[in-house]
Amino acid sequence: MMAGFEQRIAAWLDGRISEAESETLQQELRDSAEARTAFRLYAELDAVIRETADTQGVGTISKAGGAAPSSPKPAKSPFLKVALAIAAGIIFALTATLWIQQTNRNRKIAHVTGLNGALTWIGDGGELVQASGTSQVPIAWANVLGEDGELSGGTIEGTAAESWFELKFHDRSTAMIFGKSNLTFSDQGQKVLHLKQGRFSATVVPQPAAKPMLIHTPSAVLKVIGTQFDVEAGPESTMLYVREGKVQIRRVSDGKTVDVPADHRVVVTADSDMLLRFVGPDRAWAQTPFWENLSASGNQDLIATQETCDYDGTRNLILLEEPAALPAQDTGHTLRSGDLLEIRYVWRSDKWWAAEDQVAIKFFTTDNDLMSGTPTFFATLLSGTPTADGTYQAGSGRATATETESGKKLFVAIDTQDGGGELDGVAHVDNFQLQVTRFLKPGLRRLDDFQFFAPFSDPPPAPTPTIIIGGNVRNGDFNGNDSD
């Protein structure tokens, strides 16, 4: 009975207790003060072991405390010897820690390679600097940065949707946060990061096997040896996407651990199954049916769609502010005056997307009814500004064709409208839908109307909208693949 009780305590401390065992343990703790005392003793024991392990490390312990207790000849006062050895160890560790802290206080572990937007940096020494900057390191930060924008450990907090911050560690590993994020970082021989919330992306060069990079989020712990990956952390969930290499992720609540290989992702919440999901490779414009890159570069080998940052578990369109890419398509629809054009889509902001930047859906015709012709834009429908937390939101709008466009082919482009002053933002668009409703002017029947309706019967039926792009119709969901 007692052994079972102790095993349950051990399972609880190790984070591997089952629901049934947990209920039994709680019943025992509820019923017996003695059981609670025993439980507290084990909990204290666990705390002491973990503190010792974390602060001194196994190697140090073996040198500092090994001789006295394992001495083959019993000493006259073994307790005194052990106590002295531990005291000496503690004094040594304290002195060493103080010396290391003193030395490390000003030790720079990484340098800033770029930043933008409103940010707050709190250094190890408690110094706090708030600044808003552009892509260059602003003067306001000069007092906390060493040569080449170097930083000691601390906490960096992005306080606006367009904030981002990139740092490079001395081993050339890089890390970035985007939007409203909070990251604490340190490197005392092992890189330890705490991502309380927000989006985080990193490229980590191979780390010592015994000292992997550790990233703590509220719901998971990630162990990284060397790889490229993205993390998105909220108060109750963590999404990890591994581009290269392998990352181990452990759920904090129950200790469940999963190895996430390249091109896979996993979502960790309290009740998720932590199943790995394969993430297909990015696809270029040349592989994306119906849509093409209408930018001046016309480069059809640039990335057009991807499966990460998804809305519904499928592929989405990558929208860039920079002029290298402009998604557009020939809708195949010939306009008539009065045609009502309605669009719907979902979108979200990503890296470097400013709070004022917007998605701009543009309708246009060309002088020769070919996509390559000279365009005339007749309507631009803006999305509005992004959500603060970078989640997907709906975009919609409508426009009406006039006599000017009548008889011409309709083209549509998914463009951006800059509001932040820099053309470097990235966003994602999915499930684009365009429907056309054709209204006939009263009394003005056309020849084709008479072909379908008896000339002297009831008036034509009420107009119904026709989806000309949407779902798998003309690749509105961006999942189509020309290389299939």
Binding site: I17, R50, A270
Partner: protein
């Protein structure tokens, strides 16, 4: 600051009996220290700083607990209150902790190293078990035996000291 540093181990021990993981303990201990630092003006001189800090830690742990309440590792309100109440009033915590540290130092070197290794942040016990050539279950039993040795050592030391 000195008071905070002095009482931090006690806070961690206290929290370990209430929160499911060491990560949770560190998060709440840090939050409690920050709050104590900010609210130091409201601490009444002459009263026990440790008790005041534990009250803050208990409250912060309660808040934190709501976030992870769905896990089977989180105790029900009744059990949680019992444990928190008794741990807050614990008088011998410092003494027991001292004995724990001594007993840990007494443990055979290889066993101590093993115990420390599996309790180091970021170490995955399953991997250590694989490296040692043992099944995960057998490995957990080894760790549990070491814990029992330490517990017995502590209880014996306390009794000897009192005698």
């Amino acid at each position: 600051m000195r008071l905070l540093v002095e009482h931090e181990p006690r806070v961690r021990s206290f929290l370990r009996g209430l929160l499911p993981t060491w990560y949770d303990v560190e998060e709440v201990a840090q939050e409690a220290s920050l709050i104590a630092w900010r609210k130091f003006d409201s601490f009444e001189e002459g009263t026990a700083f440790g008790g005041w800090l534990l009250t803050i830690a208990r409250f912060e742990a309660l808040k934190y607990r709501r976030r992870v309440a769905r896990s089977p590792l989180v105790f029900t309100d009744e059990v949680w209150d019992l444990l928190a109440e008794e741990a807050s009033g614990e008088e011998n915590l410092q003494i027991r902790r001292r004995h724990l540290e001594v007993c840990l130092g007494k443990l055979e070197l290889t066993k101590r190293n093993l115990l420390l290794k599996v309790h180091t942040s970021g170490v995955v016990i399953r991997e250590v078990a694989q490296q040692s050539g043992k099944s995960e279950e057998a490995f957990y039993k080894v760790i549990q035996r070491l814990r029992v040795i330490l517990r017995d050592c502590v209880l014996k030391s306390i009794v000897s000291e009192k005698a």
